[in-house]
């Protein structure tokens, strides 16, 4: 009897402790962040905190990202889906983002974003730090539906300007639309958007590369040369180019792209 009571009290104590811990998921996340994501030590903590709080979406989201980083896509997507089930407002967007970047599953990403938009009841919603229509537009662009992508980029930019002002337009929104307009052979439109992007972010090599291509396409060779050379300088020097360790981003610009463009034009 004593033994039974002891087990009972232990069970109650564990349950109460688990519930207390689950109210502070940030604390559990901090335990995870002490270790390299995906490492054996991280995995041990991840297993442990998920056994304490199996309904904490953030813990599943963190686990999903770790598996996606390392190409373990089945477990990665299973965890991200669990996170999206528990917290569809945040993690449907996160799953869309992962589908797009890790798997190039653009149709799946669009489907997740459509569901998210229905849940939210509107389109003015951010996924990571990006307006959801920018992410959806990138997916349509990758599928080759440029017209739909243009429509979405424009709505996203206009909504942000209208709701909060020009300063609230996303860091790369004009870049995305400028690149798309270049692909659609609307070179003047591309130059206009990319010039706005230069104002937004002066040391980004990508913008000068695409604007250089657009200038070249309309015969403004000298301006094209200046931009392409500047893009090269930024990549080789202290400027920035958009890149990620864990995946290749859409429309990524490499030094060899810039050098080839210079060779082609001159």
């Amino acid at each position: 009897m004593k033994k039974t009571l002891a087990i009972f009290f232990l069970f109650i104590a564990t349950t109460v402790s688990a519930q207390t811990d689950c109210r502070d998921v940030t604390h559990l996340m901090q335990r995870l962040w002490k270790h390299e994501t995906g490492s054996a030590a991280w995995k041990k903590v991840s297993d442990s905190v998920l056994s304490i709080c199996p309904n904490a979406a953030r813990l599943w989201g963190d686990r999903g990202q770790a598996y996606m980083f390392r190409g373990e896509f089945v477990e990665g997507m299973r965890s991200l889906s669990q996170a999206a089930k528990l917290d569809p407002y945040y993690f449907l967007g996160s799953r869309a983002w992962s589908r797009m970047h890790y798997l190039h599953d653009y149709k799946g990403a669009i489907s997740d974003l459509d569901t998210l938009e229905n849940n939210v009841g509107g389109s003015y919603y951010y996924v990571t730090s990006m307006h959801m229509y920018i992410l959806k537009g990138l997916s349509y662009e990758q599928l080759g539906n440029y017209q739909k992508a243009l429509e979405l980029y424009t709505i996203a930019i206009d909504q942000q300007v209208k709701e909060k002002g020009e300063n609230w337009v996303g860091s790369y929104d004009y870049l995305h639309r400028g690149i798309l307009r270049y692909k659609m052979e609307d070179y003047d439109g591309a130059i206009e958007d990319l010039t706005r992007q230069v104002t937004e972010y002066e040391t980004l090599a990508d913008t000068y590369y695409y604007r250089g291509l657009a200038y070249a396409a309309v015969g403004r060779k000298e301006e094209a040369k200046v931009d392409l050379l500047h893009s090269k300088e930024l990549i080789l020097g202290t400027g920035q180019r958009r890149w990620e360790g864990v995946f290749v981003i859409p429309n990524e610009v490499y030094l060899s792209n810039v050098e080839n463009a210079l060779l082609k034009i001159y």
């Binding site: 490492s39 373990e72 896509f73 089945v74 798997l103 599953d105 799946g108 080789l236 180019r241 060899s256």
Partner: protein, 155 residues
């Protein structure tokens, strides 16, 4: 007692695994392949740099070497290849993950798999550096197949 020690060892070994670690398989792996520092194998994404152009080279290799075959016309999905590159730039322990278009595990046609694996093995994977020395690292790349054709390289 021996059994207990063995079970503890197996349990510790299982717990000590990082996500995505690849153990030696005598049926498929080169027994001569060695990592330089088994205590620290990096992940490729930790070692990329601003000027890294490996993705361009890898895409070019897959696109130029892939040859379609009418027998594969019903094959669609994603094939992920994960492997180890040692500090000398030698790659081995290639492992495939085969997924259908809905990301469920499946098995692709054996010849198609062998073709994809052959291309991955033919690539000169670059040695990577950390702390001023070349290091061992895991890497992965995926290819999307649509109706037997190479439609995308995901990396």
């Amino acid at each position: 007692m021996r059994l207990v020690i063995l079970l503890i060892f197996i349990n510790v070994a299982a717990v000590a695994q990082n996500v995505g670690d690849i153990s030696f398989d005598p049926k498929t792996d080169d027994p001569k392949f060695q990592v330089c520092n088994p205590k620290q194998v990096w992940q490729g994404y930790q070692l990329k740099s601003k000027q890294d152009e490996t993705p361009i080279m890898v895409a070019r290799e897959f696109r130029s070497k892939f040859r379609s075959n009418p027998a594969w016309k019903n094959e669609s999905g994603l094939i992920r290849i994960r492997f180890l590159v040692n500090c000398s730039g030698v790659a081995d322990r290639f492992r495939l993950l085969e997924l259908d278009p809905d990301l469920k595990e499946k098995e692709f046609n054996a010849d198609l798999k062998a073709h994809i694996l052959g291309i991955a093995k033919s690539i000169s994977w670059p040695p990577r550096r950390a702390y001023n020395q070349t290091v061992d690292y895991y890497h992965h790349v995926s290819v999307r197949i649509v109706n037997g054709e190479l439609s995308d390289i995901v990396q």
